[in-house]
């Protein structure tokens, strides 16, 4: 099997409970390079917990997450040391939060936000860092003239795009997104989705996108996983699941989309 055919990320029988409340039960899937998977479901169905389990921000009660490192070796993330895990998280992964304030440093300029990961991996040339930041701001359609502005004077859409640039600057292979378009108005959402689709294709990113918005799933993802009460109830190709949902709950989800 050639390197590209092996999965990038493998989740095996992940389980997490908070007291008696089961957030994730027996979740298994694998994600290949360049593949985008959407996780949909209502609030409280365990989507965000799953994302936290995948990125090792929360330890699973059972099961494991394995990841193919840049050196080609697939390793169990639970066996990595904290330093290794943090290094992975700021070089090979991206994490896009629903609220950009969580993923950005609001008190430092946009340029420094984008440059932080580069400085963290040892870049020590101001000119080069600034050039990389300028390039990335352009790619996410933020005017280069605003590079020295702080994100707290940016609009919501710009903040979200800045957060994406900050995550992608080290050219990660896996991006985890938690409701990246919620909280934005629809025209801004459309623009952001368009941008995300372009970037994912251009950079051959693998991504797991948690969303409750089926339109986002339809536009961005290849595959879809429907969750309810901590369990995966249906998986498949996005178009297939959305056009021909088998489970009653999925049918309900698809039927509840508003048509203007």
């Amino acid at each position: 099997m050639s390197e590209d055919e092996r999965p990038l990320l493998i989740a095996e029988a992940l389980k997490k409970a908070f007291g008696r409340q089961i957030a994730c039960r027996d979740i298994s899937f694998s994600l290949h390079e360049g593949e985008v998977m959407a996780v949909v479901g209502e609030s409280g169905s365990g989507k965000s917990t799953l994302l936290r389990l995948l990125s090792m921000q929360t330890k699973p009660d059972a099961g494991c997450v394995r990841y193919r490192m840049r050196d080609g070796v697939t390793r169990d993330l639970a066996a990595l040391g904290e330093a290794e895990l943090r290094f992975l998280a700021r070089t090979d992964w991206g994490f896009v939060h629903q609220d950009p304030a969580l993923g950005l440093r609001m008190a430092v300029s946009a340029g420094a936000n984008v440059g932080e990961r580069l400085m963290a991996v040892g870049w020590r040339h101001y000119g080069k860092i600034r050039q990389a930041a300028t390039d990335w701001l352009e790619r996410v359609e933020i005017e280069a003239a605003r590079i020295d502005d702080r994100p707290d004077i940016y609009s919501g859409g710009m903040r979200q795009r800045l957060q994406i640039a900050r995550n992608l600057v080290t050219q990660p292979r896996l991006v985890l997104m938690d409701e990246p378009t919620s909280g934005l108005d629809v025209s801004v959402q459309a623009r952001l989705l368009d941008l995300l689709r372009k970037l994912v294709a251009a950079l051959k990113l693998s991504a797991v996108i948690v969303t409750h918005d089926l339109a986002v799933a339809r536009l961005l993802s290849h595959r879809i996983m429907v969750m309810k009460a901590g369990e995966v109830i249906e998986t498949g190709l996005t178009d297939q699941v959305l056009d021909d949902p088998h489970e009653p709950y999925t049918q309900l989800l698809v039927a509840s989309i508003l048509q203007p």
């Binding site: 943090r86 440093r105 430092v108 420094a112 400085m119 020590r124 101001y126 860092i129 020295d148």
Partner: protein, 290 residues
């Protein structure tokens, strides 16, 4: 005041042992902030309670103490701390840097090079260099543990982006012994190179924040910078109006209300030494200005 009522150097022996243990650990791990059980001192926080506790713990009866505040021997803070140890420890005090064995300082390193038998004690208001970038103490400690110091360069990046140069002029972050990033207390960055490979032991005490850290003698201390914006020592391009020094750190003194000003050495003992013995002597032990 009845001096003998106090233990030698004010603190009780158990407290001094506790502080000495923290100091030993700090010396063993250069630049690492060691927590210690800081005591209440008979002075407000911000006046050098950390430095005073460190000084009290390292002081012996034969030591000669010098205390400086912003380089000067005769300002309120320096005078009161000097009197404090005269009263509670009965040690000899001096203003001459060469004569002193323990020097407690607020925000300066003397111009006269230090020697092996000397200990320099810094008063530190905020020991955590990452504080204003990452307010969570749990997180900054983890960053120190994993040597994740990218964030420190974010601060320097911000300086250059907004001011065209690294505008941090004091509390300029340094890397000690190739490992820990440390805040050298609010000393001007002019003094940073003096910390590198210094023959004297340098101890840092933060009383409110309950931290002690140290630079052992002859330790490498590197000021952080960028390849294309290297660290630069800053000194106002002027000469001292009193002694004519062209290489000491200068204070600006406003002399009237119509724009008159002069620049003088901030290190008063150094300035007086250069002017010779005909100048008025520094305050004798026991008679600080009040």
């Amino acid at each position: 005041m009845n001096a003998p009522a106090y233990n030698f150097a004010y603190l009780d022996e158990q407290t001094k042992r506790m502080i000495r243990r923290a100091i030993l650990k700090a010396v063993a791990i250069p630049g690492y902030q060691v927590p210690f059980a800081s005591r209440e001192m008979p002075m407000p926080y911000g006046w050098g309670t950390g430095g005073v506790q460190v000084t009290a713990s390292v002081l012996g009866p034969n030591d000669v103490l010098k205390v400086i505040d912003q380089g000067a021997d005769d300002t309120t803070n320096a005078v009161s701390i000097r009197k404090f140890f005269q009263k509670t420890a009965g040690v000899r005090t001096t203003t001459d840097t060469r004569e002193a064995t323990v020097i407690q300082t607020r925000h300066r390193i003397p111009e006269t090079p230090l020697a092996e038998h000397q200990i320099l004690v810094f008063q530190v208001p905020i020991p955590e260099p990452l504080r204003f970038l990452e307010p969570r103490e749990t997180e900054t400690r983890r960053m120190h543990a994993l040597a994740e110091y990218g964030l420190m360069h974010v601060k320097l990046y911000e300086d250059i982006a907004h001011h065209g140069q690294i505008a941090t002029t004091y509390a300029y972050p340094v890397k000690v012994d190739g490992r820990y990033v440390m805040d050298p207390s609010p000393t001007p960055k002019f003094d940073n190179p003096k910390m590198d490979d210094c023959p004297a032991l340098q101890l840092f005490g933060a009383g409110r924040e309950k931290r002690i850290y140290a630079i052992p003698p002859y330790t490498q201390v590197v000021s952080l910078d960028f390849e294309d914006h290297p660290f630069e020592r800053y000194r106002r391009d002027d000469t001292c109006a009193l002694c004519g020094s062209t290489d000491s750190f200068l204070d600006e003194i406003v002399t009237d209300d119509s724009g008159g000003r002069m620049f003088v050495c901030s290190d008063t003992a150094y300035c007086e030494g250069r002017r010779g013995s005909d100048m008025p002597a520094a305050p004798a032990p026991g008679e600080g200005k009040s």
